[in-house]
Symmetry: C2
Subunit: 358 residues, 2 copies
């Protein structure tokens, strides 16, 4: 022990400040249990390789120290996340929450958790969430995109984050997609109304930038064509959004028409519109379906619960979500996964709003 020794040590006062006050880590647990670091990790990740006695000691130490595994560190080292995200367009529309339920079902079955994010139809928020999720290195992203041609969206898969597009049929080869045949849905709705003898039919929907709105209208036109009716029988009422409030506005416009020019039936691009329309028309004295028959789209729970139960085009909502999640899981686990485009078939549910009582 020479004096030199003492001087040789630089004054290591470099004290990094501890970011968080205290939080027991594997190290502390290992010390408390009298085992090594690696053993604690084994208890956490491969409990079967550690002897029951040691395991018990470690588990006791964890409990008494209130150990909480640091997921960031785990993920950094292990490189895998147990999380999957669904970026929805609008949490207020029951259609999407039902899809989310399907997603969660499938995820739970695979032992994963789901985080829900809502873009609220705001492209900036959507972009921010996509960046965040990519940085988090989530297992995969399910999304009903605002703009399906966004470059951000297209780049994700090539950088290692699988993406599945929900409720939009995508012509792009970089993702899977799950959708419902909207053209057919529109056709079903209008055929039904034509069979009931309606001649002048309104199509309520908008804006015309939304794929769904266009497809459903095209389906409506096709049904007219098939029945040999003139295209002018379809009166288009364009709305600014697919909301209850817009539906009410459309009802106002419709009810304002003279009875001999007013359509006798209306087909709405979704149920929210239809519910608004229904409410407004009834409150303005029109009888549904005698004066105006109404068909909605989505068959959300509130469609059936409306005081005049709504005829609607049903989509397999939960199945949509479940399938999307399953495609995502396949993509991230199966090395020779191939992108698919799954299309479901909608179904008409007839209720009082078109058929009257019985």
């Amino acid at each position: 022990m020479s004096v030199d020794d003492a001087e040789a040590l630089p004054e290591r006062t470099r004290r990094r400040r501890a970011p968080k006050p205290h939080a027991a880590g594997v190290k502390a647990v290992a010390a408390a249990a009298g085992v090594s670091l690696g053993t604690v990790s084994n208890v956490l990740n491969r409990p079967e390789v550690v002897s029951p006695l040691t395991r018990a000691k470690v588990e006791a130490a964890m409990a008494s120290l209130g150990f909480v595994r640091n997921e960031s560190a785990r993920q950094l080292r292990a490189g895998s996340s147990r999380i999957l995200a669904y970026v929805m367009l609008d949490a207020g529309n029951p259609f999407f929450t039902d899809v989310a339920k399907g997603v969660e079902e499938a995820a739970q079955a695979a032992g994963l958790s789901v985080f829900l994010c809502t873009s609220s139809e705001d492209a900036d928020r959507e972009a921010a969430y996509l960046d965040l999720l990519e940085q988090q290195r989530v297992q995969g992203i399910l999304i009903t995109p605002i703009d399906q041609n966004s470059s951000r969206l297209r780049k994700l898969p090539s950088r290692g984050t699988p993406v599945v597009v929900v409720d939009r049929a995508l012509d792009d080869a970089s993702h899977c997609s799950v959708a419902v045949n909207d053209v057919l849905g529109g056709e079903l709705a209008i055929s039904h109304l034509l069979e009931l003898g309606h001649e002048r039919i309104a199509y309520v929907g908008g804006p015309n930038t939304i794929g769904q709105v266009i497809d459903r209208r095209d389906g409506a036109r096709r049904a007219l064509r098939t029945a040999g009716k003139p295209m002018s029988n379809l009166i288009e009422l364009t709305t600014g959004a697919l909301t209850v409030a817009e539906g009410r506005g459309a009802g106002q416009r419709l009810a304002g028409l003279p009875a001999d020019r007013r359509p006798t039936a209306a087909f709405c691009a979704n149920d929210l519109l239809a519910l608004g329309l229904l409410q407004q028309c009834v409150s303005l004295g029109l009888r549904v379906p005698e004066d105006l028959a109404i068909v909605g789209y989505d068959d959300i729970e509130f469609a059936e619960a409306a005081a005049v139960p709504l005829t609607s085009v049903r989509q397999p909502r939960q199945l949509l979500g479940r399938t999307a999640a399953e495609l995502l899981l396949d993509e991230s686990s199966n090395p020779d996964h191939e992108h698919q485009r799954v299309t479901f078939t909608p179904e008409l549910v007839v209720r009082t709003s078109t058929r009257g009582t019985l």
Copy 2:
């Protein structure tokens, strides 16, 4: 170059396999831009300290390499998360999605992102989410808990994850909570019905394990007491859940009663019940409000949109969410934060279902 040199090197074939194929990190960016690691980090976190020229070079390198910051590593080192979570009871109930909207507003204003989780009224799922979020070291958790006395819930704050309880008044001192005065809400509803001259009034709600259901009923009773009416004027119909389907069931029971014993008004513990009740009663030939007046609770969007617009007790849903998020932010940033219990006041919105036209 002696032979010894060659032999001195142990054969370091210890090749750890690369977990992920390739993903440009700060290191690669630094190399590409010809700067040091620390500079790249500065561009990311303190752009103002790096010269414009260098910054441009680094940013160009990032873009061309498709650099995506690894959030796990960031969080591990920096110790802070930019995420906040809201664990909801039921995404299908518009009440909760509106609360979520408020949460997101406040979070966005503070530069944070929100992940939504749904427990679907399942205690195990709730527990799993809480564990996961704690392991993720999120900034904080907002929750409408299934069981507010859960030990897991109570332990979280002491381990460093702030919690705010939403829509439940908590007697515990370890969290903030934000709620609405449900007793008062019940009182408002019944007072309104009494003023309209109703004598026999049904209270539809359940199960009686839910705080809200009990409080709203107690409010109803208090209103009767205040008005000097006998308690037997309140006929209780207990339901199994707060859903549309259960509401329909209650409607069936109600409509089945002989007219002289049937209540002339019903107060439902939430709007989903009220909508189901409304639908069933109308379809069974009762007129609303002439034969049966109905008051709901929550004033969700579909209450107003029902064909007979529903009188309902409105809660400041978004404000609830916003306030909860703000309390959480205060707790995690303000060192001398004090737990609060905020209670909002509900408001009666009168519509056709009690007052008839006009």
